[in-house]
């Protein structure tokens, strides 16, 4: 219905956004270089190149409808054959590698990974901002207050539900689902 029209409009925006994402990312990546010698990863270039191509496809599929993004598909068969190509690349050496510096809103972050037998075995922080890494905002002091009402009395008086992670599968029966329906 209306959602379909909106979905089409959304798709255009998604493509634009994804291009924006890659642009900023590449700039940041280019800013710094790894300090350790790289294992030969010929697969890396096609990897990042391919991501641009599959970006729009994944974007429209993932958020285009209520259903398609619902399951975290264990085998993401769609798009990108990069991973299967690069599987043949077994030349990763063991060693320690330092990544580029990420500029976060808390300050610069740099990490070092230790690789043994082609697997990451350790992640260490080389650089991390000192001090309080939390933005000081005003309302974190609000404290949960126990309530005793029944569900029917409560639902009218709450805006959102916080609970142990609700998956798309469990959503239908959830209290949040009832709240969302009430507003649509």
């Amino acid at each position: 219905m209306r959602r379909i029209v909106l979905w089409l409009a959304s798709t255009v925006t998604i493509v634009v956004l994804l291009f924006g994402y890659h642009t900023s990312r590449n700039q940041t990546e280019a800013a710094t270089a790894p300090t350790a010698s790289a294992p030969s990863t010929s697969s890396s270039s096609p990897g990042s190149g391919g991501s641009t191509g599959s970006g729009s496809g994944s974007g429209s599929g993932g958020s285009g409808s209520d259903e398609s993004g619902a399951t975290p598909s264990p085998s993401p068969s769609n798009s990108s054959s990069d991973s299967s190509d690069s599987k043949s690349n077994d030349t990763s050496a063991s060693g320690t590698y330092t990544g580029s510096v990420a500029q976060t809103r808390w300050g610069p972050v740099q990490v070092e990974i230790t690789v043994a037998g082609s697997k990451i075995t350790k992640v260490d922080v080389v650089q991390y901002p000192d001090g309080n890494h939390r933005d000081e905002e005003i309302n974190a002091y609000a404290i949960p207050t126990l309530v005793q009402e029944t569900l029917s009395q409560q639902s009218a008086a709450i805006d959102m539900v916080s609970g142990a992670t609700v998956t798309s599968d469990g959503y239908v029966q959830s209290l949040q689902s009832a709240l969302d329906k009430a507003g649509i």
């Binding site: 990312r25 990897g47 619902a70 990490v111 000081e136 309530v147 709450i158 539900v161 507003g183």
Partner: protein, 284 residues
């Protein structure tokens, strides 16, 4: 389509599924029905989808999956991967190892899995699109963990219900939230278990831990860490800056951590009955 002249405090709601989770959005204020709001919502979903493509451990072709297999190196990944790994390592240090992005792989080794950082970090980050919508309050929830914002001081706080872990159809507590984040860890919905990275075994956590903090990145991390810490959850949460919390035990008893006592005495004692809550609205 939509009536532009909606009452100020009418709540406009959206829901979509991204990253295998329901993403719920509530908007209110003059901009709730604006095209800027809709554009921002689209941007949020696009960004979460992109984050999933980069970080998902369910996708064998994600950057993180390939990084973990040694097929690519850190320099080949988006710089956000560095940020997330840095956060994860920091969280491990601050939680005495109760939180980790190097999880037991079941074979005596460890595997890279930053998923515990990604969700809260990604939703907090994506929420900036909503924060840019003029004069609009929002509450953005991803599977029960959320970022809230109230722009105008004369508007009421969002009222966040905290699910009863023993009966998910009920709300056990309510917390009024203006500009802050709420995250809950537990196993009620999933019927699965969180691993304790220190032992490789199943964490013997409380029934649930809800954390209210300025930022969802750390609210989510702290809720997970506190859950894994089990009996130490309340003491540890009391040491966290700007953090309030509700811990629910399997017998139904609860502890509340009062975030106003920022760095109280080591292991500040729990309070069952909070006193005055700033900006609170009366419970009906």
């Amino acid at each position: 389509m939509d009536t532009p002249a909606a009452p100020t405090l009418e709540v406009r709601r959206f829901v979509e599924h991204v990253m295998g989770m329901p993403i719920s959005l509530a908007l209110r204020g003059p901009g709730a029905y604006s095209s800027a709001a809709r554009t921002a919502w689209t941007a949020v979903r696009a960004e979460l989808t992109e984050v999933d493509r980069v970080f998902s451990t369910y996708r064998s072709d994600s950057y993180v999956s390939r990084l973990a297999r040694g097929e690519i190196e850190l320099a080949d990944c988006p710089v956000e991967v560095v940020e997330v790994l840095g956060l994860g390592r920091r969280a491990e240090a601050e939680s005495d190892g109760a939180f980790s992005i190097m999880l037991p792989d079941g074979a005596g080794g460890r595997r890279l899995d930053p998923s515990g950082v990604v969700k809260g970090w990604a939703v907090q980050r994506a929420s900036r699109h909503l924060a840019a919508v003029p004069d609009t309050d929002f509450c953005l929830s991803a599977g029960g963990d959320m970022v809230c914002r109230v722009v105008a001081p004369d508007r009421p706080a969002w009222r966040i219900g905290i699910e009863d872990p023993r009966d998910p159809s009920r709300v056990l507590a309510v917390v009024p939230v203006r500009t802050a984040a709420v995250a809950t860890s537990g196993t009620a919905q999933r019927g699965e278990h969180l691993l304790d990275p220190r032992t490789g075994g199943v964490a013997q956590g409380p029934a649930s831990v809800t954390v209210v903090a300025p930022d969802l990145t750390w609210a989510d991390i702290d809720a997970t860490a506190a859950y894994v810490l089990g009996e130490r959850a309340v003491d540890w949460l009391g040491s966290r800056p700007l953090t309030s919390a509700l811990v629910v035990w399997s017998d139904g008893s609860t502890n509340t951590v009062d975030g106003r006592r920022r760095r109280g005495p080591h292991g500040s004692e729990p309070k069952d009955h909070p006193t005055v809550v700033p900006n609170s609205v009366p419970i009906k």
